[in-house]
Amino acid sequence: MKKEMIAMLLAGGQGSRLGVLTSQVAKPAVAFGGKYRIIDFPLSNCINSGVDTVGVLTQYQPLRLNTHIGIGIPWDLDRNYGGVTILSPYEKKENTDWYTGTANAIYQNINYIDSFNPEYVLILGGDHIYKMDYNMMLDFHKANNADITMAAKPVPIEEASRFGVLVTDETGKITDFEEKPEHPRSNLASMGIYIFRWKVLREALIANENISGCDFGMHVIPYCHQRGDRVFCYEFNGYWKDVGTLGSYWESNMELIDLVPVFNLYEDYWKIYTKSNTLPPQYIASNAYVERCIIGEGTEVYGVAKNSVIGAEVTIEEGAEVYDSIIMEGVVVKAGAKLYKAIVAENTVIGENAQLGVGEYAESTYNKKVYAFDLVTVAENSVIPPNVSIGKNTAISGVTTAEDYPDGTLPSGGAIVKVGESE
């Protein structure tokens, strides 16, 4: 048996710029949009595009990812032949190694790909929110008789220097690459989505097998380009959002609550699938006030929720107020607590009358690069004691008690990290 195209989904990265959110889970497993996880988007794109064989490469903190994917039932990827397979690094007779880079991870799974004898291999990342028909990209690839097709999205030229930029000729053929250039010659940002002819990729991976940290953008694609392979750029103009920083993660969640969101989850066409265990409806109590929110299954709101994305099985008790926040599954916001611009991860408990996100903004004293978006970030399974006051641009991870808050406060820019120290 043979598959025309199979997908390899790179889901091994930590995503350290999401701070305490990824101290215990891999970035693709981070919750998004009230009931989804980031990896649901590429997985749903696969099945909606007719790609029914997906290898998911995991490495960093894979437990949540593994339980989420299981045998692929939510995405109809439980197949007799093909389907979803979790590929983690494994021990070998010699050269046992972690996945040292994106291309190295694929290299270590050549046998998996060979077993399907595919014509084409689709390389995907697990850190973007978008809906895309990979089949159209494949048609483009075939029409150009390409060896490699890279998907790219036009971005405002002044932002292009944050991305890998593709320089093309008038036929869409790529003539040059620039990695985060100071003066970009093009506004086509590489989306990290590639289609390879498997024969071409296989050769390139073996030729570069000794490069440690072998990476698609840095090694494999330049190598192929140099030896004269036909590399094309597939321009994608739909919604595509990198959720790699706390700021962009918060922003793209907030976009979902617009009256008609740019990225619309309510269309029947191109559904996004996810594993959901919770079935009961959402309850909004007599004294509650809910406006401009999306709310997941089984959540009960007795207090106020405004401009927020709220996951499943959350309880917002009477007198509690939640504004401009992302609240993930199983969180309890106790009576009288107030949250402003907070991201609260799974199963955290916010104590009575605690205040999050108050006072004046201050630069982070913990990690300036990660915490720079005026958000209170609380990791999963954390506890915030009653009556404390927590400033802006802060981070909390683990079970904290009143002793952790001198004078009952955590000043703006501060952090209390008791679990999953990752810096």
Binding site: S276, P280, P281, I284, S286, E297, E300
Partner: protein, 374 residues
Amino acid sequence: MKAVGIILAGGNHKRMRELSQTRAIAALPVAGTYRSVDFALSNMTNSGINRVAVVTQYNAKSLNAHLNSSKWWNFGRKQGGLYVFNPILTADNNSWFRGTADSICQNIDFLKESHEPYVVIASGDCIYKLDYDQVLQYHIDRRADITIVCKNMGEMTGLERFGLVSTDGENRVMELEEKPVEAKSNIVSCGIYIIRRRLLIELLEQAASEERYDFVKDILVRYRRQKKIYAYLLDSYWSNISSIEAYFNTNMDFLRKDIRDYFFKEGEPIFSKVDDLPPAKFNYGSQVKNSLIATGSIINGHVENSVIFKEGFIGNNCIIRNSIILNDVYIRDNSVIENCIVESHSTIEDGSVFKGEEGNPRIVIEKNERYNYK
């Protein structure tokens, strides 16, 4: 558990008015995101019953669609499974099911091919949680031939729509009347029975040979003295939804925290088919009080003391009060709906007003064009 399960989901009733015109009662949506039959199915799987047959007849389309995969209830294993029996025509059989006993009897091979010593029979139109294993233990302890799960309805009136049971001091059933003219007892049969598999086969074949087809009338009532029939008294929530009033009230019961906690948070879960819908969305101007809003819904207007089922759309300036809005209903701007049950897939025009009376909900079925509007 040493039993197979049979769920009788064939029924419809004119008490349900227009709601069961297009579907079996067992397929009626309940509590925002479930269907009635989910409760019996979940109780079966939670009691460790692996082999379950759902017997349907009347307008089974939405029921069959709901049961199109058994994985949601954890059936579909190599040992056991979920079977759906619709009436079939063969050379020597050209009839519909002529009654509950007949519906099982026409599928008697299911019983003959099973190895489990007992059978649990339940109906698909009741909302409750029950570990059938406890009932079976009671059945065995009493050395009963048949055990009927019953509930004391206390002061409740209108019991004439149920089967009523009178017992002696030992809970042995002395009298059993199906839908009597006048209620002489306040103990109702919940339509849940435990019986030895071989005895059931024997009784069914005997009834069939006498051209008797109803399980209650022709078997339970006739054998009430001859066989040892015991009542197992249920002391937890149980509601039969097969009248409009009961259906309305049962849904409204889920606005109570104790009921929601009992069904959704305590003990074993209730399973249902998963629909892959996005979260519920509350837009600017929405005001929701004491209501259940199911997933996939979009709310722009006011909703009070109501249950909005999956994929509901409530337009701007709408007022929805004391109402049940079933699946996939689209209500355009400026509409007022009070004391109503709005049928699934309805589309309600701009500025419509529908009002029922308290205690007598109005059923609204509006099949207007939803798309290409204006």
